[in-house]
Amino acid sequence: MTNEELKTKIESDFKDKVLSATISAQKELIVVVKPESYLFVCQGLRDKSEYAFQHLSCQTAVDYPKENKITVVCHLWSYKYGHQITIKLDVDRANPKAPTLENIWKSANWFEREVFDLYGVIFEGHSDLRRIMMPEDYTKFPLRKDFADDGFIIKPN
Amino acid sequence: MLSGENIVKSVSDLLHQLYAMVGLSAFKGVLDPIVAAHVMFGFISVFVMFLVWMERKVSAHMQSRIGPNRVGIFGLLQTVADAIKLTIKEDIKPVHRDKIPYYIAPIIAFVATFAGMVVIPFDKGMVVQDLNIGLLYIIAITSFTVIAILSAGWSSNNKFALLGGFRSAAQIVSYEVPLVLSLVPVIMMTGTLRLGGIVEYQSQNHWFVLYQFIAFFIFITSATAEANRAPFDIPEAESELIGGFHTEYSGVKFAMFFLGEYIAVIVSSAVAVTVFLGGWLPPFAFLAFVPGFIWFMIKLLLVIYLVMAFRWTFPRLRVDQLMDFGWKVLIPVAILNILVTGFCVLFFGKGV
């Protein structure tokens, strides 16, 4: 299945669940989903045999402070057909909440912990949402663009 | 002729003259063992240093590298340098240690194995004390090492050390059984526990390794396990337990454990040589002009080399596999071996 066919198929299968489906200049299929149907779309992409995206290759987030949003990005890969898709979900920057994909792909557990750790996106329903890389008592989310590091200077009292 | 017996005789004559000169002849019975123990200690210290060097060279050659070659000729003094380093380095102690067991553990570990050397006959008559129950004595006295290891594991107040102690206790208690069982057929055939007597029996017959190859194999295997050597070194498995029971020891105290381990190797190899490989006897009669203690040392080094070769070629067994191997393979085979030997002794009339 080429990306174009995949695009039309997704547009018809998930008609009112998808905000946009585009093919980028780099020939990657990028699908932006509506927040409320995020889980449904992901579940469908994994379980329907004509998609068979069994592999959550990568999950991360991108911070867009100008548009006041953080985009959660998932890259899926199908071992069966060898096609790739990018799923995007925009969340509010001030109150970043997204449903967890942990029950669909186990690998999302750590990916989401990492996104939480570095961007502060709260994945609702996650079984073990703790900081994964930064210290437990760390108070900032370093990959956000407005992150300012004053951590290394110990100020005299 | 140069033989162990003559050397011992002339040395003791010299000593007794010395006693007479300072007027201590009356205490001959007390002083003789003390001197003998010191001689043995000196020998063991030098020999262990040589063995450590040898182990490093053996491992180096097996791993296609050179090994120590800087200190002294062929790096022979490397171990001396290491020993000096160990003695002068800072002694790091855990704060919440259990003081008395923490300090006595290395001492017991060293003394218990060292005491085993007392009954090893290096040549005919060249032995500190050829006890009547020599074999049993070695097994009994070396079983103290378990207490040392358990004390070390417990008193270090370290979880890895404690786990190492657990493992060691389980391992040594388990492997003591096949170790003793593998020696029983030999005792049945010779009818004595005296190590000198066992060698004398072999001088009339063949070496026991020919009669009792299975027992020899079981003995070497369980002796390796008793000495906590790879592939049975799970009490100190460095990839899991860091240093095991001696994680928290440094300096001289660590050196004592280290020394104890090497002496355990020497003792068990010496027992293997004495019991299975004819002790001080030459392999062929026409080679008898070479003194017995030289034959003994050659055989001893060969057996130790074998133990070293195990260490540098095998991976480490897992703790439950180790137990399975001991209880489900070695012990049944050893018991079967005893039964077969018993029948042979009964029907072909050797021994009792």
Binding site: - | H96, S143, L150
Partner: protein
Amino acid sequence: MANVLFYLIAGVIIGSAFLAITLRNLFHCALFLALTMFGVSGIFLYLNSEFLAAVQVLIYVGAVTVLIIFGIMLTRNVMDEKTRVMNGQVFLALVVAAAMMAISFAAMNKSVFKTNDHPMAAVSASPDQSQASPSTHTDVYSLGPELIRPEKGFAFAFEFVSILLLSALVGAIVIARKDPA
């Protein structure tokens, strides 16, 4: 000289036995128990029973005490807990101990011991000499027939004990085994 040695060993035994039951750290108790056992083997050695001494060390120090220590380590947290030395059964225990002592004394009084004028002589003597005087010296070689030969009368007891131990072993395995369900 020989008596001094005896009192020394006896002192060690009694002292370490006392410490073994009074110390509050169970692990230390076990260590002193090992020392007691070792002392007892010293007494055996003093009585020319080399075999018994070695077996005493092998079994009681090498196996029994080790298992006790093993048990302590498995059931206790590392060094953070002290045990009570006494509990409600202390008087009962005293009565039992006294009774045991009385029985032992009675048994000792009734038994006839072969005494030996120079107990330390055989220990330091060379093996050839000790074999020359088998009457004063329990040799391993003579110990076996004593135990096994039917006419000596110990064979039944020996076999009985081994069957008892075997059944104890099987029982222990049955108890220790986890329910497969």
